[in-house]
Symmetry: C2
Subunit: 79 residues, 2 copies
């Protein structure tokens, strides 16, 4: 089973990396950029067919290791 | 308009960061992990309402700056 995890900075947290990307894009001529935020995208292949268990495990993985819940949000998607 | 860009390593490219995550998760007790791949997730807010133009611009951004096409694939999604 393939799961996708999206980890993004919370809205109120500054994203210097995103700002650098925005500025670089603007300097390349993309003038209609309002904002850029960079996050992480993690694909996890799990050896289980039970969606419920997988979902529970994936949330646990995010909380224990993958996301820093003080500054980041996460979203889990199972195909 | 909010667009989402997913940048992932091509299948044949080694992903040491993904391996580290997989090993860490296994050592935390998640034993049914088969594979982990880490990618980037970029949200771009564009000041345009034309989906076609936006899509063309976003693809150009990926090709010019955001993705390294030698080793990475990208996918653009517009809400």
């Amino acid at each position: 089973m393939l799961a996708k995890i999206y980890i993004t900075l919370k809205k109120d947290v500054l994203d210097p990396q995103g700002s650098v990307i925005a500025n670089s894009l603007k300097s390349l001529g993309f003038n209609n950029i309002e904002d850029v935020r960079q996050g992480k995208f993690i694909e996890v292949k799990l050896n289980t067919e039970n969606k419920e268990t997988a979902n529970k495990q994936l949330n646990e993985m995010c909380e224990k290791l993958l996301a820093n819940l003080v500054i980041e949000d996460y979203k889990v998607e199972i195909d």
